[in-house]
Point group: C2
DNA sequence: CTGGATCCTATTGGATACTG
DNA sequence: CAGTATCCAATAGGATCCAG
């Protein structure tokens, strides 16, 4: 679901949390970001292979959202076979601790079943 | 969107991240958890007022998911006017650093516009 | 290679009425 | 008070075809 600007008009800082989540929401965003941690930059096709399972549409769409949110940057090379590289911006990189914390949580909590 | 078990069958630990996100996904889950940080336990109506904007259906539904994921517990009092209290489990509380990190990120990144 | 545009379906989530 | 059930609208996301 799309979390738009929270209607929370109060002083409640749950607002900030919503703000952060709104950036990461979407089935693939976090995955895209995650994979961008593994390399300085990735090309479109690299990302598509990395995320694996993502449709072209989603990769473009969610990538664009992330770009709009200033999390990832896009560098286009004006060459014959189009070449575009994507990478994390300052804000994107700053997201690492948070994602790491989530990942740690997933690992540490009462082991599911497997 | 519902993030079901990631089909990622590889050794890639993006899986863990997905796992964590799947628990928090849903428009209100993080908000519910967030508000449960503010008190040891909250009653149904308390939560409803706290989250504010959430429909009864969503509160029940998402709360139940969180319960199923072992993030929050539910204590029913067999009294005349039904009384049920909700609180965070061990795993739920362990989620705090992660959510805090996200919140910090939201605050620290290039100030939007407001 | 990158990515835009459509069509289409599953899911999400909101409103409301009803029950113990 | 807490929870359920149903009807409905909005949206996310997948497949596919087209274009620079």
């Amino acid at each position: 679901m799309k979390r738009k600007a929270a209607p929370t008009s109060q002083a409640c800082s749950a607002q900030e949390l919503e703000d952060a989540l709104s950036v990461l929401d979407g089935r693939w965003k976090t995955l895209i970001i995650y994979h961008l941690f593994t390399a300085p930059v990735l090309r479109f096709s690299d990302l598509r292979r990395a995320v694996e399972g993502i449709s072209q549409k989603m990769l473009i769409q969610q990538r664009r959202d992330l770009e709009a949110d200033g999390v990832i940057f896009r560098k286009v090379y004006p060459v014959v076979p189009p070449k575009v590289e994507y990478g994390l911006t300052k804000d994107g990189l700053a997201l690492r601790p948070a994602l790491q914390a989530l990942q740690d949580w997933a690992k540490s909590r009462t082991p599911p079943k497997a």
